[in-house]
Amino acid sequence: MEALLSRSRQLRRPASRLCWSCSRQLGAQARRTYASAASQPDIYDVVCVGGGPAGLSLLTALRSNPATAGLRVALVEAQDLAKTRDWKLHPDRFSNRCSSLTPSSANFLNRIGAWDHLARERVQPYHEMQVWDGVTDARIEFDWDTPSTGRTIAYMTENLNLTSGLLRRMDGIGGTDVFDKVKVENITLGEDKDDLDLTQWPVVHLSGGKQLAARLLVGADGANSPVRAFAEIESRGWDYDRHGVVATLEMEDEGWGGHDMKIAYQRFLPTGPVAMLPMPGRYATMVWSTTPRNAALLKSLPAKDFLAMVNAAFRLRTVDLEFMHTMESGQAEELLWRLQHTHVNHQSVPQTVVGVQEGSVASFPLKLRHADTYIGERVALVGDAAHTTHPLAGQGLNAGQGDVESLARAIEYSVLHGQDLGTRMSLEAYNSERYAANHVLLGVVDKLHKLYSVESGPLVPLRSFGLNAVNAMRPLKNFFMEQAAGKGAKLF
């Protein structure tokens, strides 16, 4: 099948010998004639809706694997991908939407040839994690046994750096029909016409009249996935009544470990965790999960008071911090006064934040969602379309990469064994592999959030005892680190 389809594609598009833009124009012409011949849908093996990290890495994985390179694939994206492709920022400006890529995600991106296309000078590996309880100060230090080797726990990466790198890699291989700046107007089932019965094939209707019939329709289209709605798959969960406040910050220096030993910090406050994650040089990115009211205040503060709140979040007692959230202004002076009465071990908290990049303070609501299943007949969901998690473990994007890796493997197996890659039967392995793994992740993250929301009572000493105990037990700690790094036995 693939050979047949790919032959017809090669006739229409000698993509390998032409640059991307030329071949795209050629493709567009050919498509027009194809479409005008009859109002029949164009037939694809894989149609991926959504050009975010999950969708782009899926198509790149399929195109870069010789076994699946013969498949006819298409990408549908509402945004203008040229903007992502040409994304560029000044070396000391950083986007506020960053993710922590585990070594396992990075290895996958490397295998599909995308890692080299990221702006590597903008990627910051970190080698140590400091996590502590804001109420009791019980602490756990995650570092590898042999700190001298500087083993990487994860790589801090701007999401746009990742997507633009993936796009460049995808463009480089060619062979993906890209439909961007188009809306998905409708998804229907195909028709039974002449010698072809497409009544079980999803047909994606694009604005402008184009129709794409999909052997497999992949929903990489985010939390409000239209593909999921088409497949009538329920997504269940709850809102945390918390917002994640993000910002790109400038620190007084490169961090306590210097250039080669970067540290990530996370403090569990009763309102939610606040995390400071290192970016290249003196920069860091912050994710502060807090109540919608606190988030609104933080966003409204002038830079000087905002910085005071961030520094306070890692240093002050929780009651003091709570009080500062009730002030309408003057946080900077308040912090100076309160710090005189607070004992802080400076080396165990992030260095002082001295600047915030203009326009980088933003917030988004936090929720937990999990689709009942990731597959239907000729439908698969990946990434946020399948699951949304609290950012406290920094695993959202990695879970999506895990989905993609697993789905690409299921598709490869189908192609090598002549199975119809879109059927439920062929997708079962993907669903069983990823549903269980993500279910554990979502559950653990959810319980952690709830556990640390408690301010007093018997749970507080218990959780501190737990944290201290884990900190004292090297094998258990290593286990958690292997999990965070996406190595070891794959639980998450």
């Binding site: 050979a3 047949l4 010698d195 072809l196 052997r215 090598l416 064994h417 002549g418 199975q419 039967m425």
Partner: protein, 330 residues
């Protein structure tokens, strides 16, 4: 079951051809389990004798008789009844769907196991007893496949197969279904192809597959002799069936059909199962000189896990068997 005279006659004749048959029951059927099933050896169907009461099922029947067929009418009606659920992934054929990838692994293993590097493109397949087309469709989808011809004597099942193939545009021009028993295949192809009518040639294929069929035909040896001419010299005849042991009776009849109900009742007739050494003997001793490179792979179905290759399990349950054609029959 009462042994008929013709059966006994044929038995004697065949035992001369297939010495392996004589060793059959002792090694695996031991102890008290032997009693109900194998106490009288003639009561269980020998490899090449008749199994059903079909009138065409006769040792003296000549293959030149146009009405001769190894197809068993009871079997045809059983599979007709299953036709509509053939492609339901959670229906009665689920276990067959799950087995299908292993068939390709086995064929790949066979083709890669010989030294003269086989071509990986332009392959032609003949799938005998294709049923709803699980294997035929998948073979046609493989990039190296030029064409697949798939035949089955059951018209209802074949209608399902044709209807299902229409759902996949990539199967057009690659997959052809013919409603014919193997005995009339050549005639059917000649009728279709005007070129063949002028210069008739024996149609031959790189891979001739006979999956889960041997245990359903009424005389396996004659049936295999009918299949043999369709294999290209250098090509493979690939089959799969179930070993006839007390354990296979326990797993495929009692457990799979009656207790767990993962296979429709009445699918298997234990007495029709064929042992690996019987097949080996048939090709290597009985048809010596024409066949070489016998290959075998035993597989076991583990509920919740799927099919797994288990070395040595060809002696007790489901297995694949293949031989390569070295020369034409004289």
């Amino acid at each position: 079951m009462v042994a008929r005279p013709s059966t006994a006659l044929l038995l004697r004749r065949l035992r001369g051809l297939t010495p392996a048959l004589r060793r059959r029951p002792e090694s695996f059927v031991t102890g008290r389990y032997t009693a109900p099933y194998l106490v009288n050896r003639d009561c269980c169907r020998p490899f090449s004798s008749t199994g059903s009461g079909s009138p065409s099922d006769n040792a003296h029947q000549s293959t030149s008789d146009p009405n001769f067929t190894t197809v068993s009418p009871d079997e045809v009606s059983h599979f007709n009844a299953l036709a509509s659920s053939w492609w339901d992934p959670h229906g009665p054929s689920r276990i067959l769907h799950l087995m299908n990838p292993l068939r390709h692994d086995f064929i790949r293993m066979c083709r890669n196991s010989v030294l003269d590097a086989p071509s990986t493109t332009g392959l032609t397949y003949l799938d005998i007893g294709c049923g709803g087309g699980i294997f035929a469709e998948s073979a046609a989808r493989l990039p190296g496949t030029k064409s697949v011809t798939a035949i089955d004597p059951s018209p209802e099942v074949l209608n399902i197969a044709r209807g299902h193939a229409r759902r996949d545009p990539s199967l057009r021009n690659k997959l052809q279904y013919l409603n014919t028993p193997i005995e009339q295949l050549t005639a059917t192809i000649f009728k279709q192809d005007p070129q063949q009518q002028q210069q008739p040639q024996q149609p031959q294929y790189d891979v001739v597959s006979v999956f889960e069929v041997l245990e359903h035909v009424s005389s396996p040896a004659q049936f295999l002799d009918q299949c043999a001419p369709f294999v290209k010299p250098g090509g493979w005849l690939v089959m799969s069936t179930i070993a006839r042991t007390w354990l296979s009776w326990f797993t495929t009849n009692l457990m799979a059909e009656d207790v767990l109900r993962i296979v429709p009742r009445g699918t298997h007739d234990w007495q029709k199962y064929v042992n690996e050494e019987e097949l080996r003997g048939h090709f290597m001793a009985g048809r010596s000189g024409q066949w070489a490179e016998p290959r075998c792979m035993g597989v076991i179905y583990v509920p919740g896990v799927g099919w797994r290759e288990v070395r040595g399990s060809e002696k007790v349950g489901n297995y694949f068997f293949a031989v390569r054609k070295t020369a034409e029959e004289e």
